[in-house]
């Protein structure tokens, strides 16, 4: 144990692990060390409870990636209803849960071009629990209306939609998403942050309770699990992240990504 100083990354991973809950299968895309830590934490908790779940597929890893039917299997698997939780982000996210991974300004003459929609225009519709995760919480990223909809937060009633956003986790707070009302609700602010600060830095309207609670700190047991069991596993995939957050170097860190 590194003592009682809790790093922001640890707090966020714990918040996300709680959002994951008890499910069968969590998949995590590339370049997502905090969601990956959360998924592995959920798996370790499942082990401790004797549940033997969730399965965790870390798409960036060889060891924690069970797919053998090529790059399409993740999407087929989600279409089958076998992926319960996935993570998405956005260059822009708006108050109706729309996400933009393509560009700002006019599509034909963009001001900023992002990489692209990846699988979001599909997975956002069919994965029951999509957790939005964006560490930069600003009016630049959380906007009134996205310039391009890679995937909408909600759909018309007649559109097949078995999934969608359940929450948005940022460096400042946790929002839950109400699909019926098509709005975010401020559930808690992380220690050291305030509801007013959140409002100042958010480009969209959101609901909030009269008194906004503070995101609870992880329990000592959870912290121990994360630092002692999860961190060494994570180090195989995100060695620099683990070194920086947990101060752990993994002997196996060269397995997937020796560079």
């Amino acid at each position: 144990m590194n003592g009682l100083t809790i790093r922001p990354e640890e707090l966020l991973a714990c918040v996300i692990a709680d959002l994951i809950g008890d499910v069968r299968h969590v998949a995590v895309g590339n370049a997502s060390p905090i969601p990956a830590a959360a998924a592995l934490l959920a798996r370790e908790r499942g082990k401790l409870q004797g549940l033997g779940r969730p399965y965790v597929s870390l798409l960036q890893s060889r060891k924690h990636n069970f797919f053998t039917d090529g790059a399409r299997e993740l999407f087929d698997c989600a279409g089958q209803g076998r992926i319960d939780v996935f993570f998405l982000s956005g260059g822009q996210i708006d108050g109706e849960g729309n996400i933009n991974l393509v560009s700002t300004g006019d599509y034909d003459k963009p001001k900023v071009r992002f990489p692209g929609s990846f699988g979001s225009s599909y997975l956002y519709y069919v994965v029951p629990k999509v957790i939005l995760f964006r560490t930069e919480h600003s009016r630049r990223t959380l906007v009134g209306k996205v310039d391009f909809i890679s995937a909408p937060g909600t759909s018309a009633k007649n559109v097949h939609r078995s999934g969608g956003p359940i929450a948005l986790v940022t460096n400042r707070c946790l929002f839950s998403f109400d699909r019926a009302r098509r709005r975010f609700r401020l559930d808690s602010v992380h220690p050291g942050h305030t509801a007013e600060e959140v409002a100042d830095n958010t480009g969209f309207e959101f609901d909030r309770p009269a008194k906004v609670p503070t995101t609870p700190a992880p329990s000592l047991a959870t912290l121990a699990l994360m630092r002692e069991v999860v961190a060494p596993q994570l180090a195989e995939i995100y060695p620099q992240f683990v070194q920086q957050v947990f101060g752990v170097a993994s002997a196996a860190s060269t397995a997937d990504n020796p560079a």
Binding site: G70, P115, G116, G119, S121, Y125, P152, S155, N257
Partner: protein, 272 residues
């Protein structure tokens, strides 16, 4: 029987200017040696399909002015940041962009693989991805009740270009778990393969190897290209060359830097 080419350049002959070329995602074993050979040859006006995403390969081809149209779900250098030549080209409007989403590209290739004119796909409705794709159609699911669904036309590439760990002397290619490479080869008119090495013996004769093998009758030409995915990784064989990718990201951030990169890492190879 595929042609066993003496050089990568010779194997690439079927890739003509204007070719509809499909290439695999950045972690599946990208034919980078072949890509550099295409840049050296100066191929033009490619309709490049990256299944379903790309990194260095698309950025390099775009920067070297080989691409007219790019159809993919994302281009990024991952931990090394945005793909600079891609972003620049899109912002300056000098390539035609066909934004997609990963499963749509897989499904459109599978339609060609199955010889059907289209494939349905869930999702997409209400997105601007769909709005920007007039070639995709919204239809009513005849098995549902007021149930709109998107239909994607079959995507039949002229050429699939892949890199794999090995091929045998009958032209069979071992691709392992990267089964999208098989779908690409099935869907494309012609398939060109570079491999790390030749395998002695028949890949199809061993049931364990056969399970990961693309049969040679889908293959047009094969060339040896040891470390042919460098500086990208080849799964289970070698990792990405992170130092090189960081250098690329740094140089390609400007047009001059990119020209310098091309000179040092693509064109000077020709003299070597």
């Amino acid at each position: 029987m595929p042609l066993f080419a003496n050089t990568v350049e010779e194997a690439l002959a079927p890739i003509a200017d204007g070719c509809l070329l499909v290439v695999p995602r950045e972690v599946s074993g990208v034919p980078m040696e072949a890509t550099r050979a295409l840049v050296r040859r100066g191929v033009k006006r490619l309709h490049l399909v990256a299944l379903p995403t790309s990194s260095l390969q698309a950025d390099l081809l775009i920067g070297a002015d080989c691409v007219a149209t790019l159809e993919t779900s994302a281009v990024s250098l991952g931990e090394f940041g945005p793909a600079p030549r891609f972003c620049d080209a899109v912002m300056r409007g000098i390539i035609r962009m066909m934004d997609a989403t990963c499963p749509a590209l897989h499904a459109a290739l599978q339609a060609a693989e199955k010889g059907v004119p289209f494939m349905p796909l869930r999702g997409l409705i209400g997105s601007d991805v769909l709005k920007q794709r007039p070639d995709w159609k919204l239809a009513d699911n005849p098995f549902g009740d007021d149930d709109p669904i998107v239909l994607l036309p079959a995507l039949k590439p002229d050429v699939a270009l892949i890199h794999a760990p090995m091929a045998d002397r009958n032209g069979n290619v071992w691709i392992g778990r990267q089964r999208e490479l098989a779908t690409m080869a099935h869907a494309a008119e012609k398939t060109i393969v570079t491999v790390e090495k030749l395998h002695d013996g028949d890949l199809l004769a061993d049931p364990v190897l056969a399970a990961g093998t693309l049969p040679g009758f889908y293959v047009e030409s094969i060339a040896l290209a040891p470390r042919g995915a460098w500086p990208l990784p080849l799964p289970d064989h070698y990792p990405a060359d992170a130092a090189h990718l960081a250098e690329y990201a740094r140089l390609a951030a400007t047009a001059d830097g990119f020209a310098d990169y091309l000179k040092r890492y693509v064109h000077e190879k020709r003299a070597a």
